[in-house]
Amino acid sequence: MSRIGLQVCSELHRQPVWAAALLLASIAAASGLRAQDPSPAVQAPPQDAQSLLSYHLEAAPRAETQLAALAAPDLSPQARSEAVEELRWQAFVYLQAGAEGELLPLLDGLAKVEQVKPGVELPVDLHNATLADAERFRIQAACWSPDQYSVGLDLAEAWSGRHPKASEAESNSVAAMKEYLESRLQDREEIQSRAASLLWYPLLSLLLLLGLGRLLWRQWFS
């Protein structure tokens, strides 16, 4: 799985949109997300643009309501669990579609579930799984956005420690993404280092030419 993930990540570099579907398929297979995600409303994520819009038109208003409800302490544990499950599923749908604009606010909302944990009766396992998924999805989204590589790597490095009960498949997928982010950041660092050293090259070249010119001058005019 790790190898597949990396391979697709490198593909991603040259064709982000195509790679999205492939990569998400590999992540879903690795994490068993479809099997373990008991979304009551949706059996499979949208497969084309039209079904994605259908899903969004139906689910987006509900998501706003659910996020608001999760903040209320009097929500029943059952309702809370269902809301969180559906939001997790929705985040997965947006992630696999590449809908970054919808995904990131939703992940922010899911992350806030932790803030309401004290005093509310969200099952601990569900709570942990929700956070693990939210962070995992954010790491994945960071793999596609060069300006988010560092953020993604920080999250990936902390992920295993924060979610020790995560499945082996999930851990492997995060490890693959971490490896990818490390390699991209290392490449970037090398390029920046080369760019910094190149700053002096024109000056050195000029000095070299001036030195040669001086020799020429002496040869001809002395």
Binding site: V17, A49, Q50, H56, A97, E102, I191, P202, W217
Partner: protein, 521 residues
């Protein structure tokens, strides 16, 4: 003889100036920065050469000999440039470079290469004129000699420009031309020194042309192989192929960017191209109906490349129950030639394709019809620069005039800067388009990419999400749907002040450079 020598020196200087950029282009691109550096450094070398040459002319006992030595120096250094530039560029450029991070490296690399490889030969060639004036002044007086040498040198320069543009680039090639120029300079040196026995040695630079041209492999993406390389009057071009059969047409420095894309199995090309399929849908929204008179959606694509946009546009036309009549305008005929040979369009019964080659997009559109359903602008020069005359308020007004009511204008915008649709390049172009199209403007980000597609509709509002949902057919790419969701869409004119883009004052070039530099940091 002195006039011919002056003309030859002038010819060589301009050949080096123009062809030098094309020699740099596969490695460092040929952006406005590279051109400016090359012109500036060549002018500096001319100035220094003239000054030193003048000093030498006033002290030397044998100006003919000195002029001959300068010819030899220029020829040898030019030959060295042919031999040394590619390894030098390969040495200083890191592997795995992408366009986002390339701007600063390319700028510094190209100025270093130009200093080392182009300034020295131009310096020697520029020393020749004062020495020739000195020779000629003995017979005709200083003033007349200076005038005649200056005239001959300028005519030679003029010939160099024309030769480089109309013969060297499209017919002979950059390296062979510079090799020949180097050989002729050496030949002139031997003739001036009256050493006919050494004439054969002048052919030495031509032998360098037998060495392989490393520029074909410059900045090659991982896993790709080169299928074809060509040099046009505008750019260095190559077709590369990946293991899965996907082919890219790359221009100049290449890296991780492509000018056109081709899939062996056809179908949706992916990336930003797919969003062009929305244009016929948008044009068909509401009470309007596309292609009502002709039976086919009438589309012009400005910056046609090899025609990658045809498939998504055809999909869009089919979605509204029409065929597609597309006219592709492409400035560079060599792009089309490579496309026909290596990236051929599949014949489709419902697609009628016309190509207008070697023509400027704005000039051709001005002469085009005024009832178009869709106009697509995907024209880039020097990799990431939108041609300035195709990004002004006045041009967008012309686009507006060539659309029928309800027609749609679609524009591909690439920027490496952190995305904000209200400022920078995106804000400026969006604002300029809104000047003609009012609030009927929409910009959609291509998921996880540096591209945005701008849509603007004449006289009619663009469909909202629910309307679009009703218009979308089944089976279109998922990522295209993601680009339609509110999180990646901005409607209307930009908020706040944006830079104005006009024909007589257009800071877009600077804005693009700033955006790409910002993206690399």
């Amino acid at each position: 003889m002195t006039l011919f020598a002056a003309a030859l020196a002038g010819f060589a200087v301009l050949a080096v100036e123009i062809l030098g950029v094309h020699l740099l282009a596969p490695w460092f691109g040929s952006s406005t920065i590279v051109w400016s550096q090359q012109i500036g450094l060549v002018l500096l070398a001319i100035a220094l050469g003239g000054w030193i040459g003048g000093r030498r002319a006033s002290t030397t006992q044998n100006p003919r000999h000195d002029a001959a030595m300068c010819f030899a120096g220029g020829g040898l250094l030019l030959a060295f440039c042919l031999f040394g530039l590619a390894p030098f560029a390969a040495w200083i450029l890191p592997e795995g470079l992408n366009l986002d991070q390339a701007a600063s490296i390319f700028g510094r690399g190209s100025i270093t290469a130009a200093l080392l490889f182009f300034v020295p030969p131009v310096f020697f060639l520029s020393m020749i004129s004062p020495l020739l004036v000195q020779i000629r002044a003995e017979e005709r007086g200083a003033g007349r000699a200076a005038g005649e040498i200056s005239c001959a040198g300028t005519i030679g320069s003029l010939a160099g420009v024309l030769f480089a543009t109309f013969l060297a680039l499209p017919v002979i090639g950059v390296r062979p031309t510079l090799g020949m120029v180097a050989a002729i300079l050496l030949l002139s040196s031997f003739l001036l020194r009256k050493k006919p026995a050494a004439l054969a040695a002048a052919a030495a630079p031509l032998l360098l042309l037998l060495t392989p041209d490393a520029s074909a492999q410059a900045n090659l993406p991982q896993g790709a192989k080169v299928l074809a390389v060509a040099e046009s009057s505008y750019q260095h071009l190559r077709v590369i192929e990946f293991d899965d059969g996907v082919r890219w047409l790359q221009m100049n420095e290449g890296v991780d960017s492509y000018q056109s894309l081709w899939l062996p199995q056809g179908g949706w090309p992916g990336g930003y191209y797919d969003l062009f399929a929305l244009a016929p849908l948008y044009a068909n929204a509401g009470k309007e109906s596309v292609g009502s008179e002709q039976g086919a959606v009438q589309v012009w694509v400005l910056g046609f490349g090899t025609g990658t946009a045809v498939e998504p546009l055809a999909q869009g036309a089919r979605a509204v129950g029409k065929g597609l009549a597309v006219t592709g305008v492409e400035l560079d005929p060599v792009v089309a030639e490579l496309g026909h040979e290596w990236m051929p369009q599949q014949e489709q019964a419902d697609v009628d394709l016309t190509e207008l080659l070697g023509a400027d997009a704005r000039a051709m559109l001005r002469a085009g019809p005024t009832n178009l359903d869709v106009i697509v602008l995907d024209a880039y020069a020097r990799q990431f620069e939108i041609p300035l005359h195709l990004a002004t308020t006045e041009f967008f007004a012309e686009v507006h005039n060539h659309l029928r009511s309800g027609g749609v204008f679609s524009l591909n915008l690439g920027t490496a800067a952190p995305a904000s649709a209200d400022s920078g390049l995106l804000g400026a172009v969006r604002g300029a388009v809104a000047t003609s199209f009012g609030e009927h403007v929409r910009i959609q980000q291509v998921p996880y990419s540096r591209n945005w597609i701008l849509f603007a509709r004449k006289d009619q509002p663009l469909p909202d999400l629910e309307e679009l949902h009703a218009l979308l057919p089944q089976g279109w790419p998922l990522a295209l749907g993601a680009a339609c969701l509110p999180g990646l869409v901005r409607n209307g004119a930009p908020e706040g002040e944006v830079v104005s883009l006009h024909d007589d004052r257009n800071p877009l070039g600077v804005q693009q450079l700033l955006d790409w530099r910002e993206g690399g940091e």
